[in-house]
Symmetry: C2
Amino acid sequence: MTVTIKDVARLAGVSPSSVCRALADPGQVRPGTRERVLAAARELAYSPNRAARSLSTGRTGNIGVVLPDMANPVFPGIVKAVQTQARKADHAVFLSDVEEDPALEVHMIRTLAKQVDGFLLCSPRSSDGHLRSFADQTPIVVLNRRVGRVPSVTADNADGMLQAVTHLHALGHRRLAYVAGPRTSWSNRERTRSLRQAAASFGIELVETGHVPPELEGGVAIADVVVASGATAAVTYNDLIALGMLNRLHARGIGVPGEMSVVGFDGILMSGLVSPALTTVAVPMEQLGRVGVDLLLELLAGRRTGSIRRVLPTRLLVRASTGPAPHR
Amino acid sequence: MTVTIKDVARLAGVSPSSVCRALADPGQVRPGTRERVLAAARELAYSPNRAARSLSTGRTGNIGVVLPDMANPVFPGIVKAVQTQARKADHAVFLSDVEEDPALEVHMIRTLAKQVDGFLLCSPRSSDGHLRSFADQTPIVVLNRRVGRVPSVTADNADGMLQAVTHLHALGHRRLAYVAGPRTSWSNRERTRSLRQAAASFGIELVETGHVPPELEGGVAIADVVVASGATAAVTYNDLIALGMLNRLHARGIGVPGEMSVVGFDGILMSGLVSPALTTVAVPMEQLGRVGVDLLLELLAGRRTGSIRRVLPTRLLVRASTGPAPHR
DNA sequence: TTGAAAGCGCTACCAA
DNA sequence: TTGGTAGCGCTTTCAA
């Protein structure tokens, strides 16, 4: 049924070792032999068993990608870039959606660990301690989080928030609401911190409305609270929340940006298609993914070691959901 | 560094074989022994090497998911459901985005084949011949396509199109444009066929504007052609194309649904958030994924054999992008 | 109930 | 340049 290296060897009239060399190390074998091996391999449609190979070499040719929620459009964007980049390096991708659950995240990392050469952890939700201990045992690149000396690729959340607040301040907003995302999210902590700092530096009053799930429903649920807060503008943890808010505001007949300005974060495709289109801080998702895998692959190849931190720029996309603060 | 079954055996004072049994077959080993083995395993944080296991058992515990484009929101939806379902059965997921490229699809299936127990091929783009030959060698469930006797899960495209046309006919539309998707897409062929049939049965004139990539840009690019066709309503291969069209129509100041009605297909989340919201034929994506894996897992467990075809219902979501046909 | 041994497919070392 | 051999971690006979 399944064709092995032995079958190829027999057909080519050489030993399995030679087949192995001919396939791996074209230099170490006489041209004529290589021809015959390659011909035999092609004829039998031989494709090596990478799992078996990994037993001897210790390298699987796989990378593990772990993320909190495929339903959040930022992650497909990242995954897509990762796939493309990984394939170029002839690596396959194990994907695990851990449903925003830190315990599940830890579990999946453990079970996948032996089958991958390294991990790309996207916005991981588990503790610093866990992540550090994983990083001690296997190559890891973390996306959207910084933890100890673990190599990471992040977006410049602070600058993004600063751009957003500068924009809102210029429009006359002096009372701002922030709708936070998951407590387990490092990005949320970063964004919260940066927003507080930016608001303070502009003398803007900040109302924090509490944490919601990073989904449309989260935004729908918190919209009324934001309205009641007396803020003239809201910044949300991410675009999904902002879009949910827009929906609810529209349903209540509250004008955007006439009565309330809304700023999202991430710059997902959808944010530009709704109307009013959402002003948002764009994070270069594809680039995050691409840079992340590249870094991981370098780590695996031993061409890099130790701690690397890459921070990618964010930029504010000003669209129709923000406008001058209403007079009160 | 890495802890193997031998380490556990040594610590528990038994042979590797016993460790194996204690872990796999709790019945075949004396309770006391099992206790010691489990304790040792826990102490060493032992986690079996599934790749090694697969060498002896012939089963990997992995399933391969292959899809044409992560950027199309239908696929993250499917993948998410697949992940959840696969995890329940303790299976991990290999993911491959083949970028709408049939040749790449074939290549990835070949290279992944040895590392998975079976495949879930989502909207595969390669030829019937290839798919049949893969299905002969390894368990496969195909989503959004029917090919030979290969087990499949599809949506009821025909009924969806019939619902759409019935709706448009009731609104007075008598000249309809269809914007087709990829030629390589079975769903596109199905939808085209069904639409022709439905239109004919209602005596509606159908203008086919040609194929576009199943992306926003495809819709943007074809919008002007649709307008020039003199149709009063357009049905598109999928929601992304429809959303792209809405964008372009809006930019040109063409009223929707006043001057042109638009119907999409798939029912992606985004379709409900734009304005006007998109009338679309909803495909139960999560269910597709769930049913697909379940079927595959049954196949793997040998609890099912032969050809199974599941067809899931679609339903028309009537929203703001469709209205009465303009008088001409 | 347990251990020894063989073998899954592949690679890598050592001789020849 | 080539073949034989050992071994990667695990499972699965086969005996004891």
